[in-house]
C-alpha cells in the first residue's frame, strides 16, 4: 500500500517517472491505457494554452488580475481523470485543469476574472464550488460535504485543494481534524508550489514536509511528485478508493512549482532566482509526460497544430466572456437573499432614480 511505503514521517516521496520520462518504479505503474495517457497530455496542453492566453489577455488590458497555473497541470489532469461526475470539487483558485475536467468552461473562468460573478455560476458543473479566495476557508466546507455524503450513505467523494501557504491557516488544521474524527470521504490535496506569493515553504513550517501534518490528525498522508503525471494518477486512484470505500480522508502533498507569478500583479524576480526556475523547468510535468510518450512511441500528434486549435477554442470562449451581457444593476441586489428585504428593493429604486437624473443631465 503506497500510504505505508511512502511514509511522510520519513520524508519519502512517491515518484514513478524521472525527468527523462523513464519509468523508475515499474511495479507501481498505474493501470492506464495509452489512449488515456494521450488524452491526458492533450488536456494538460489545453490547460497550459488557456493559462498562457489568460495571462496574455490580462497583459492586453482585456482581463483583470489572474493567477497562473503553469507547471501544476499534472496534478489537475490526473485528478480530472479519476474524479467522477457525482464527486464534489471544492477548489482554491489554482486548479483550472481540474475545473475544466468537471465541466467548468474557460468562458466561465474568464468571466470571473473579468469581474463578473456569473463566472462562478457554473452551468455544467453543479458539484464544483466557486473559486475560494480567503486562504484555507474552503477546507471545512469540503468536510461538511463529506459529512453530508456519509449521512446519506452515498458513494461520492470530495476533492479539495489548498496551497502550501494555506497549511499555516487554522482552517487547514481544523478541517483535517474534523475529517479525521468524522472519517469523511475527502481527498485533500496540498499543491506545494513552493511559494505563498513571495514566502517560501521554509518560512511556513518547520515540518520536514507538509504531508506529515496528516500524522497528527490520524489520517493517511503521502508526499507525491506533483510534476509526475503517473504518480499523481496512482495516488488519486488509491486515495479515492480509500475514501470511497468508507475508510475516511487522505492528505496528499503534491510537490510542484508555480512557474508563473502568484497573480499577474506579482513579480517573482523579486524573491526567487532564475537558477531555481531553470532547475524546475527540467521537471516540467508536460515535458516529462511527453518524453515518456515519445519513448513508448505513442505520441504521433503535431503539437503545434494542437496548440493552434486550442488557441482558437480558448479565444472563442474568451470572446464569449468578453461579449457577455453588460452587468445589470439588478445583479448587485438579486442574489443577496432568497427573499429580498424591502429596504434593499428601496435602495435599488433610489439608485435608479439617481441614474435617471444622471441620464437627464447629459
Amino acid at each position: 500500500m503506497i500510504f505505508e511505503e511512502f511514509s511522510p514521517s520519513e520524508d519519502k516521496m512517491l515518484k514513478i517517472i524521472d525527468n527523462e520520462g523513464n519509468v523508475i518504479r515499474p511495479d507501481l505503474f498505474p493501470d492506464i491505457s495509452d489512449d488515456t495517457i494521450i488524452k491526458a497530455y492533450k488536456a494538460m496542453l489545453f490547460e497550459r494554452v488557456a493559462d498562457e492566453m489568460a495571462v496574455s489577455y490580462q497583459r492586453q488590458g482585456r482581463m483583470f488580475t489572474y493567477p497562473p497555473n503553469k507547471g501544476q497541470e499534472a496534478i489537475h489532469i490526473a485528478a480530472g481523470n479519476v474524479i467522477r461526475e457525482n464527486d464534489w470539487l471544492v477548489p482554491a483558485f489554482r486548479e483550472v485543469g481540474l475545473m475544466l475536467a468537471k465541466g467548468v468552461t474557460m468562458k466561465e473562468i474568464f468571466l470571473y476574472y473579468n469581474g463578473n460573478e456569473q463566472g462562478s455560476n457554473f452551468k455544467n458543473a453543479p458539484r464544483v464550488l466557486p473559486i475560494n479566495v480567503p486562504i484555507g476557508t474552503q477546507l471545512p466546507h469540503a468536510v461538511g460535504i463529506g459529512y453530508s455524503i456519509k449521512y446519506r450513505k452515498e458513494n461520492d467523494i470530495v476533492f479539495t485543494y489548498i496551497g502550501d501557504g494555506g497549511t499555516s491557516e487554522g482552517d487547514f488544521s481544523e478541517a483535517l481534524n474534523f475529517a479525521g474524527v468524522w472519517q469523511v470521504p475527502v481527498v485533500f490535496t496540498i499543491q506545494n508550489n513552493q511559494y505563498a506569493i513571495s514566502v517560501p515553504v521554509s518560512t511556513q513550517t518547520n515540518s520536514i514536509n507538509l504531508a506529515v501534518k496528516s500524522v497528527a490528525f490520524g489520517i493517511p498522508g503521502i508526499k507525491v511528485d506533483g510534476n509526475d503525471f503517473f504518480a499523481m494518477y496512482l495516488v488519486y486512484q488509491k486515495a479515492s478508493e480509500h475514501a470511497r470505500s468508507g475508510k475516511g480522508p487522505v492528505l496528499i502533498e503534491a510537490l510542484t512549482y508555480r512557474c508563473g507569478a502568484h497573480t499577474t500583479s506579482d513579480d517573482p524576480s523579486r524573491y526567487r532566482t532564475k537558477e531555481e526556475e531553470v532547475k524546475w523547468e527540467l521537471s516540467d510535468p508536460m515535458l516529462r509526460l511527453k518524453k515518456f510518450m515519445e519513448r513508448k512511441g505513442i505520441w504521433k500528434e503535431d503539437e503545434e497544430k494542437l496548440r493552434e486549435q486550442y488557441k482558437k477554442e480558448v479565444d472563442k470562449q474568451f470572446l464569449e466572456a468578453e461579449n457577455f451581457t453588460p452587468y445589470p444593476l439588478e445583479d448587485v441586489f438579486d442574489y443577496m437573499y432568497v427573499e429580498m428585504p424591502d429596504d434593499l428593493k428601496r435602495q435599488k429604486e433610489e439608485y435608479q432614480q439617481f441614474l435617471d437624473w444622471k441620464g437627464g443631465r447629459k
Binding site: G165, S168, T203, V332, F333, Q347
Partner: protein, 322 residues
C-alpha cells in the same frame, strides 16, 4: 510623497527611534508587502524586526497580543481588508479586551494595518470597507487617513498609542495623491477630524479615498451655487463629535459619504451625532451617500456600488433643496 511612501517613512522613523517596534505579516519582509508599503525596511532593520510570517492572520494578530503585552510594539499587516476577518476573533476577543480584562495590568500597544476599500477592479475580498465592524468593538481605535501627510502623522501616533489601533489605508489612492511631506518625525492626534473646506450650506463628512470624490463633488456644488463644508474624519473612533456638531450647527445639513454598506455604519453613527448634538439646527434630514447593503460587486458591477462625485453632488443638491 505618496501615501505608500508616507507610511513607509513613518514605519522607518519608528523603527529607528524605538527598538521595541517590530513589523511583520504576510510578504512584508523580502518583497516589502504586496503594495510595497514596507519596501526596504527589512534590509535596513534586519529580519528580527521586519519579517515575513507564516500565512495565518489569526496567529499574526494573536502573537502580536503576546508581544505587545510583554513590551514590544508590533505593527502587523493584514494583506487585504477582506483577509482581516480570520483575525477577527483575536481582535474582538483579545486585542480589544486584554487591558480591561487585566484591569490595566497589560496594555496592547499594537497597530493592525491593512489596505481597505474598492475601486481597483480587484477580485472578491479585496475591496471591503470594514470600519464599522472594527469601530463597533469597544477597546479599539480606528484610523483612516486620506492624504500622505495625515497617513504619516497618524501612523506615528498609532504606533506610539498605548491602546491598540486599527489603521485602514485607502488602497485606491495609495499612489494617486502626491504631497510634500516632511521627512522629520511629526504626529497628528488620533481622534481629531479636520475641516478641509469651510462652507455654509451643507456639511459633508467623509474619510479615506472618499475625500477625493467629495472634493470633486464640491467643485460641482460650487458651480451650482452651493457652499460645502467638507470634513475629513481621519479617525473613525474615537469620533470627533465636537467638530462635526459645530459644523452641522452652522450649516444645518449633513451628508455622509463612505463606501461601506450604509446600514449600521459610520454614516448611521454620524446621523445619531447630528440628532443628539445638533437636532434643533437641522434643516433637512441627514443623508448617507454610502454603499448598498449588498456585497461589494466584482469589477464589472463596482460602478454601481462605488460612490462617484456626481452621486455625491446629486445628494447634496437634494439635501440643500429639501
Amino acid at each position: 510623497m505618496t501615501i505608500v511612501q508616507a507610511i513607509n517613512n513613518a514605519l522607518d522613523i519608528k523603527l529607528a527611534d524605538d527598538n521595541s517596534v517590530v513589523v511583520y505579516g504576510e510578504d512584508v519582509g523580502v518583497v516589502g508587502g504586496v503594495f510595497r508599503v514596507t519596501e526596504g525596511l527589512q534590509k535596513k532593520y534586519g529580519i528580527e524586526r521586519v519579517f515575513d510570517s507564516p500565512l495565518a492572520e489569526s496567529a499574526i494578530v494573536g502573537t502580536g497580543v503576546g508581544m505587545a503585552l510583554s513590551g514590544l510594539r508590533p505593527v502587523v499587516e493584514m494583506q487585504f481588508d477582506g483577509f482581516s476577518y480570520p483575525a477577527f476573533n483575536q481582535i474582538i476577543s483579545n486585542v480589544s479586551r486584554m487591558h480591561n480584562r487585566s484591569r490595566g495590568r497589560f496594555r496592547i500597544p499594537m497597530v493592525i494595518r491593512f489596505p481597505y476599500g474598492g475601486g481597483i477592479n480587484a477580485i472578491e475580498h479585496h475591496s471591503e470597507s470594514p470600519e464599522a465592524l472594527y469601530s463597533h468593538i469597544p477597546g479599539l481605535k480606528v484610523v483612516a487617513p486620506s492624504t500622505p501627510h495625515d497617513a504619516k502623522g497618524l501612523l506615528i501616533s498609532a504606533i506610539e498609542s498605548e491602546d491598540p489601533v486599527i489603521f485602514m489605508e485607502p488602497k485606491r489612492i495609495y499612489r494617486a495623491i502626491k504631497q510634500e511631506v516632511s521627512t522629520e518625525k511629526f504626529t497628528i492626534p488620533i481622534g481629531k477630524a479636520k475641516v478641509l473646506n469651510e462652507g455654509t450650506d451643507v456639511t459633508v463628512v467623509a474619510f479615506g479615498a472618499m475625500i477625493r470624490e467629495c472634493q470633486r463633488a464640491m467643485v460641482m456644488a460650487k458651480e451650482a451655487g452651493i457652499s460645502v463644508e467638507l470634513i475629513d474624519l481621519r479617525t473613525i473612533y474615537p469620533i470627533d463629535k465636537e467638530t462635526i456638531a459645530n459644523s452641522i450647527k452652522k450649516t444645518g445639513r449633513l451628508v455622509v459619504v463612505a463606501e461601506a454598506q450604509r446600514s449600521f455604519s459610520v454614516g448611521s453613527e454620524l446621523i445619531a451625532i447630528a440628532n443628539e448634538e445638533a437636532f434643533l439646527h437641522l434643516e433637512a434630514p441627514p443623508k448617507r451617500v454610502m454603499g448598498f447593503d449588498t456585497i461589494i460587486p466584482l469589477a464589472q458591477g463596482e460602478k454601481y456600488f462605488m460612490i462617484t462625485p456626481d452621486r455625491i453632488f446629486y445628494e447634496i443638491v437634494k439635501t440643500v433643496k429639501f
